[in-house]
Symmetry: C2
């Protein structure tokens, strides 16, 4: 059984918002062995929605549609779907009571367009939306399963988790999917591929190997699809073990983890703590860490000393260093990292300072110049990077490099090796 996701909304097609819903839905479906064949984003146009529904139904068994269920006139998913199914809309009493209650509880006046939120496809089963006013709908037609849910992320997540997954879990999917990840650091994609070429050549048809390089780290993903779940798992693990044996010193994890998650896990095991001191990354670096549940086990806290004054006040960077070498310098990031480690009593500290751009560059320190320092248990390591003219890219690259450097220093100082 395969599924497709359709996201509806001009805001995606003009680049005003990024579609984060689809990746989230895909992950949930993969967990119950349903693979996604295609993700399609189309505009708020009847013709486009109809055609996309038709094409998706020609390829997939399960079609999940998000967006276009709001109360305003640009939301045309319901009326278009009614047309597609040859049905009509009808007001649902239970949904209506919920919508009325929703407004009452918030002390808001109710408008005619809000009543319409209670209209559902006559051929559908309501997917009750506890956290919003737009109901989800489930239609089973011609052996296809259609789900319509709002695009607001937390409403979408509620409906997928509590309404759609329970329905899909009862289906006979007819296949198992097993994936195994191997995360490496400090080895390039081509070298990795070359080093394990014979193992890759020996893979059977039903096990695929993908390489996902990202800023100095490469994630290898083995995906096996077939009937026998336990055989798939066993076989995939055998291949994964062979790969790990071959490149052991570069492997940082065999779980589906980000480098931040690996760091939290390995630091926590050893009761190590971390603090951050971010100038050019502006909180992004800490946000990657604090996005992970349980980060408080290792993360004491951080500072974002944007001004020179705060670099001195919070981290003890000296005025002499700032005036002699400037805020974007090796000397400054060393003092930032050491100050963070000392003042906040942590085992490790990360410091960044750079010209994120797009303005502020000089011929000596052009936009994209970033200094990173990691203070460890015994020593401080530093790196000067020359990134891009793009601010967001520079922030993300600096963060990725910093976590790779932290990993390397941790790895050396703690004799880490994957089991």
């Amino acid at each position: 059984m395969t599924a497709e996701i359709i996201t509806i909304g001009d805001e995606i097609l003009i680049g005003q918002i990024i579609d984060t819903n689809s990746a989230w839905i895909a992950k949930q479906l993969k967990n119950i062995n349903i693979s996604i064949g295609q993700i399609t984003s189309v505009s708020d146009s009847k013709e486009a929605i109809r055609q996309t529904l038709q094409e998706a139904a020609g390829r997939a068994d399960i079609i999940i549609v998000t967006g276009g269920l709001g109360p305003t006139k640009d939301d045309i998913t319901k009326i278009t779907a009614a047309d597609y199914f040859g049905t009509h809309l009808m007001r649902d009493a239970k949904v209506l009571a919920h919508v009325e209650d929703f407004f009452k509880q918030r002390g808001l006046e109710m408008l005619e367009i809000n009543l319409q939120q209670a209209d559902i496809l006559a051929n559908s089963e309501v997917l009750f939306n506890d956290v919003g006013t737009a109901p989800g709908m489930f239609v089973r037609q011609d052996n296809k399963y259609y789900f319509f849910i709002p695009g607001v992320p937390f409403e979408m997540k509620f409906l997928v988790t509590n309404r759609i997954l329970p329905i899909l879990s009862t289906l006979d999917i007819g296949q198992s999917i097993w994936t195994q990840n191997i995360i490496t650091a400090g080895i390039g994609e081509s070298f990795l591929a070359n080093t394990i070429a014979d193992i890759e050549d020996a893979l059977p048809d039903y096990i695929k190997l993908a390489y996902l390089p990202k800023y100095g780290s490469v994630r290898m993903r083995l995906t096996a699809i077939g009937q026998d779940a336990s055989a798939l798992r066993q076989e995939t693990e055998q291949f994964a073990n062979r790969i790990v044996d071959r490149v052991r010193s570069h492997v940082i994890s065999t779980e589906d983890l980000t480098i931040e998650e690996v760091i939290i896990k390995e630091f926590a095991k050893r009761n190590l703590t971390l603090s951050t001191a971010e100038s050019c990354t502006g909180g992004f670096l800490a946000a990657q860490l604090t996005a992970v549940p349980g980060c408080s086990q290792i993360f004491t806290g951080g500072t974002i000393p944007y001004s020179n004054k705060l670099k001195m006040q919070l981290l003890g960077v000296t005025e002499a260093t700032l005036s002699s070498y400037g805020a974007v310098s090796e000397q400054t990031v060393i003092e930032m990292a050491n100050g963070s480690k000392k003042n906040f009593e942590t085992d490790y500290a990360i410091a960044t300072s750079g010209i994120a751009g797009p303005d502020g560059g000089t011929s000596e320190k052009p936009v994209g110049t970033v200094w990173i320092a990691i203070a460890g248990k015994e020593k401080v390591i530093t790196k000067k990077c020359q990134f891009t003219p793009n601010r967001q890219v520079n922030i993300e690259l600096a963060t990725a490099y910093a976590y790779n450097m932290l990993w390397n220093l941790f790895h050396t100082e703690n004799n880490f090796s994957i089991e």
Copy 2:
């Protein structure tokens, strides 16, 4: 002329990565009046890629394909495209020299699979990739424009900016697009729609109005498509002005800005400064602000006092407050905001403290409980929020609420009104 974007890669379909490329490309194309009809993500499978190319060419004039151009075996875009066009691959001498130079400069050994990076579609024109080893390709066939570029974001951005846009800019697009945004805060989507219903009804067919609600703020977007650029602009602006007149007190901007961008702009005009003190948002709140170029004009810096010790050390929260009320309390966030404002000498300060989850909740303070405080020029405002069980959603909601609260306090204290 319409365009479609095709992204290739299993990693998108299993939800391992979020497709941020498409939104970025869509924005660039909109700037040169090319609208995107559809965005499609398909797997690394020959059949899927072929079919998707065919369908896209049936609908659009311009087809931009990203991904699957790397050196490893799972990258099959080139070979599949050769098949689709009925052509073959040939090694390009200039690209080969570039790839060799790329490896030499980095002191890396060159492998056979790296040489293959220099193979291009025989019917294509090379889009030279200065920042990576995978070249882009441009194919013109049957009056359609096909572009193939790598999916690595900074390489993709380089090739779109420096290679694709210059080619597309020479085409006769045959239409103009004009968009006008109106950003509001503190008024619900339905009420907004109701208040301006007569204006919306008066819109001609070629001007569409979309409502994009997001956490307490609603963005209205007028999009006009037609032949005469200046007439479109004039007419759209007239409607926008009528809407702004009608809901003036709720309008925070008529530019395509995020609330963080509006805050930076309006604070900078008045020489106001801001600092942040984030516990549960963990740097995410500051990262939204520091993502904006020029934020250093208003942002002095921030702290992420995850531990209670740092709340006291950095912000002067008292031990008595923490032990009597706990870290997640109105008293604590007030002391955090006041401490941040005082210690870092800023005009405004934001503080957050909460149970982001998924663990750590109690019956009294369940997961999703977040306290927010804003210290302003004259007073401190606070809010207790009860969000969701999801950590990332809670972090994002807390950030959005905090910026809305900051806006409201700024608005009141500075008699802000849109011109």
